[in-house]
């Protein structure tokens, strides 16, 4: 009787466990291979954004009035995430990116900029080269102490701390 019980218990265990494990494995394999291309693409896109945010060390913070979130959203929506936006002065705007986009829309045709980030790149490079052989004048406006450097038909306005206020054609 005892032998019968042990035998039936072993039989039940072997009967129930082995196929079950195989089924799980098969389902897992099926699930992995059945992911559609679009899902994979979305997953890659999602990961790329996640990696980007992680690599840029971006922390999404929510302030009581939501200002930081708004600024971050503004930066992302204008393709300026991971760009040196802090090189631009906020001027009369709430934050630097807003001023940058305003000046980009105003001067993009003059300097042949194809995006706000491209406009920023051009301004930063011009800031470096314009300091040699350029003519300087004072500029009055929202930011005090701004100086205009002119060279080769273009100008750049710099605040006393070196941040860019405006960049365009003379």
């Amino acid at each position: 009787m005892k032998k019968m019980l042990v035998f039936s218990l072993i039989f039940l265990l072997s009967f129930s466990s082995v196929p079950f494990i195989k089924n799980v494995k098969a389902e897992t394999e099926y699930d992995t291979t059945s992911i559609s291309d679009s899902t994979q693409f979305e997953s890659k896109e999602y990961n790329a954004v996640g990696d980007k945010l992680e690599s840029e060390n971006v922390e999404i913070q929510r302030d009581r009035d939501g200002d930081d979130s708004y600024e971050l959203g503004y930066i992302i929506s204008h393709g300026l995430l991971g760009k040196p936006v802090s090189s631009w002065h906020e001027g009369s705007f709430d934050f630097p990116a807003e001023s940058l986009v305003f000046h980009y829309n105003k001067h993009k045709g003059e300097v042949n900029a194809k995006s706000a980030a491209d406009y920023l790149n051009k301004a930063i490079e011009y800031r470096r080269t314009a300091k040699k052989g350029s003519k300087v004048s004072k500029v009055s406006g929202e930011v005090s102490g701004v100086k205009r450097y002119k060279k080769n038909g273009k100008y750049i306005d710099l605040a006393p701390d070196g941040r860019i206020v405006s960049f365009g054609k003379q």
Binding site: N57, V58, K83, P84, N112, N121, E125, G153, G162
Partner: protein, 124 residues
Amino acid sequence: MSWKDIKIDCIDEIEKCVGEFQISALDFFEDLYEGDTIHYGTFKVKIYENQKSDTNDLNFTGYTNLKLIDLTGGFEGGIGFGETIEQALEDTIHNFIDKLSDFKKLKKKGLDKEDLTLVDYDEF
């Protein structure tokens, strides 16, 4: 004391040149130019580190010594940014390659020697 802590009243900023790289792209430049002469097949990139060290700012900036000349007589090279030297170098090279390709598309033919200039060693 670190060089990043140096503050002098009459000095706007101090940057440290932390790297200089020689970049070769003969096949790319061969396709870029009009005719069969490769006017410039290599260029240099210098990476500078600025004094900011406390934020998420991109502390490294790269510049190329080879520049495109625009219609106004000004010139414009590659520029890139990063949190590390390597990131800034990669970004600079990508930016310059894109800029050259865009210029060729805009011009609708290959570049000539007059479209590019090598700036002096102390100007990039």
